[in-house]
């Protein structure tokens, strides 16, 4: 057997994103009533669309890596921020869209204001990836079984570097 160490930066980044969102305030008031982590949209719809609103859920989607120079590894953690809020259902969705976009932009600002310290991006001759890359915001205003909740699913990828293949 060989003694190894595990830095588990994947988790450190997920945790940092969650903490940044949970700690975000506007005018001294928390933006999100809660921030949690899950691994399944179905699970969150069954168990987490309850209680105070709005809610933020960090959905872990996966991780991958590419080789850097000098045996370095550039690792990427892919996640989705699911922002959920209860909103009145009506013909005009303006208020719901406005609120979900506010939450989406608040979440981005929260993470960008307090980004994961491990996220550094990657840059070599054949690879360029910023530390944080935001995906499109997919707003689900109405979905059977979800109303009166509305959700915004916002992709996020964080990239960090480790010294070699055995430093994960």
């Amino acid at each position: 057997m060989s003694e190894i160490t595990v830095s588990n930066t994947d988790w450190a980044i997920l945790s940092a994103v969650k903490t940044a969102i949970a700690a975000a305030t506007v005018g001294g008031e928390a933006v999100f009533a809660s921030a949690e982590i899950c691994t399944s949209v179905e699970h969150l719809m069954q168990t987490q669309l309850v209680g105070d609103t709005p809610r933020a859920i960090v959905l872990f989607k996966g991780s991958d890596e590419q080789h850097g120079v000098d045996d370095e590894r550039f690792c990427r953690v892919s996640m989705e921020l699911i922002l959920a809020s209860r909103a009145a259902v009506g013909a005009d969705a303006s208020d719901r869209i406005q609120e979900m976009l506010r939450l989406k932009n608040a979440a981005v600002n929260a993470v960008q204001t307090d980004p994961p310290s491990d996220a550094v991006g990657a840059a070599t001759s054949d690879l360029y990836r910023p530390a944080l890359v935001w995906g499109p915001a997919d707003i689900e205003l109405s979905r059977p079984g979800v109303e009166p909740w509305v959700m915004c699913r916002l992709g996020l990828e964080a990239t960090y570097a480790i010294a070699d293949a055995a430093s994960h």
């Binding site: 080789h67 120079v69 000098d70 045996d71 840059a123 070599t124 001759s125 690879l127 360029y128």
Partner: protein, 131 residues
């Protein structure tokens, strides 16, 4: 198909260089071509001159590139085998590096090139060997 990639453990003399993205080297001979005489359509004599060995080290960081400037010694590097190819060792003797040529741009890694010239020990042996 076997090949090599990822230069590692790059050094010039006693100076270890980190962050080397690429090593480009070449050996060139000056072309000596005698002019054709009147009414001739082909050169009657061609020759190659002596070999000049030179190359460039490519970095993504201007600071790492600057650490490779102004060095003299034997360049050594391990070229890692890939696709079933074996690791190779590149050795270039008499390497003298110049200054770095840097490009830092938007949304891509910087490219910083340090040129070098190489000379053989005795004027007969090639400065470049691969093992």
């Amino acid at each position: 198909m076997g090949s090599v990639h990822n230069p590692q453990d790059v050094a010039i003399g006693a100076v270890q260089l980190s962050g080397v993205l690429e090593i480009r080297w070449r050996q060139r001979r000056r072309e000596i071509i005698s002019p054709p005489g009147d009414g001739l359509t082909h050169h009657s004599g061609v020759e190659y001159g002596a070999v000049t060995a030179d190359g460039r080290l490519i970095f993504a960081d201007p600071i790492q590139a600057s650490s490779a400037s102004g060095l003299f010694g034997t360049l050594t590097a391990t070229l890692k085998g890939v696709g079933g190819g074996a690791d190779r060792t590149l050795t270039i003797t008499g390497v003298r590096t110049g200054e770095s040529d840097n490009t830092v741009a938007h949304n891509r890694a910087a490219e910083c090139a340090v040129r070098f010239l190489a000379s053989g020990d005795d004027g007969i042996s090639s400065p470049v060997t691969l093992a």
